[in-house]
Symmetry: C2
Subunit: 138 residues, 2 copies
């Protein structure tokens, strides 16, 4: 099938598919006219990539997962390990965002939000504020 069809079926943009070929994630054959010719197996890989990417796996993790996908002798423990390290990474990001959120809400709550220039948020950014110094660990 042509790239347009592969794109529809995999729900990946055409550009993305070409990029994935560039970096060796998929290797479609070429027709006589130079068009890429995707086999069903190629399409499977693309769908796999679409799903894995949408779950937050990086390209390199996808590469690893793909090779496990195609390795009949894989150990499910290897797949699980990648998944769990992803979960740990997500937890770290959530924690970081939560602590950012806390600082920003404290600042926002302290700000009148009127048409006067006095602003605890600016004061904090400028280092001249007097809000909870614990907020300044960043």
């Amino acid at each position: 099938m042509n790239i347009g069809t592969a794109s529809e079926q995999s729900r990946l943009p055409v550009k993305t598919i070409r990029y994935y070929e560039d970096i060796g994630l998929v290797r479609p054959l070429r027709s006589d006219n130079g068009y890429r010719d995707f086999s069903d197996a190629d399409l499977q890989r693309l769908k796999f990539l679409q799903r894995a990417r949408s779950l937050g796996f990086s390209i390199e993790e996808c590469r690893e997962l793909l090779s496990l996908y195609e390795d009949g002798n894989r150990a499910s423990a290897d797949v699980k390990a990648i998944t769990q390290s992803k979960i740990t990474e997500i937890d770290r990001k959530i924690d970081e965002l939560k602590s950012l959120r806390k600082v920003l809400t404290t600042l926002s709550d302290a700000c009148h939000g009127d048409d006067m220039p006095t602003c605890p948020i600016i004061d904090d950014l400028a280092g001249t504020g007097d809000l909870d110094p614990d907020l300044k660990t960043g």
Copy 2:
């Protein structure tokens, strides 16, 4: 002061300071030898930037905050608005990460994690799994 001193005082890498000059966030004078010469006001800007960036504001947001910082007639409402839209953005990211986490945990929990190839995670990525289809909204 030279860039090295400015770097120490602002806790920004030298490279980053040069970059900030490139994109017009700071405009130090130059000494006769061509070295950048940072004034106290320049240093204040750098510290402001360090703090704002560490709070997750983008470069463009920092640019806006800086101009409010230096605008004696600013309305604190403008600063608060930027801060609150940042909080909203953070909330969105947290939600997204939480829902990713949920899917990954479900998959991980279903996987034995042994030395056998059978793996619900791979099956899900391949689209051949039979786990909760609600997980597949990605």
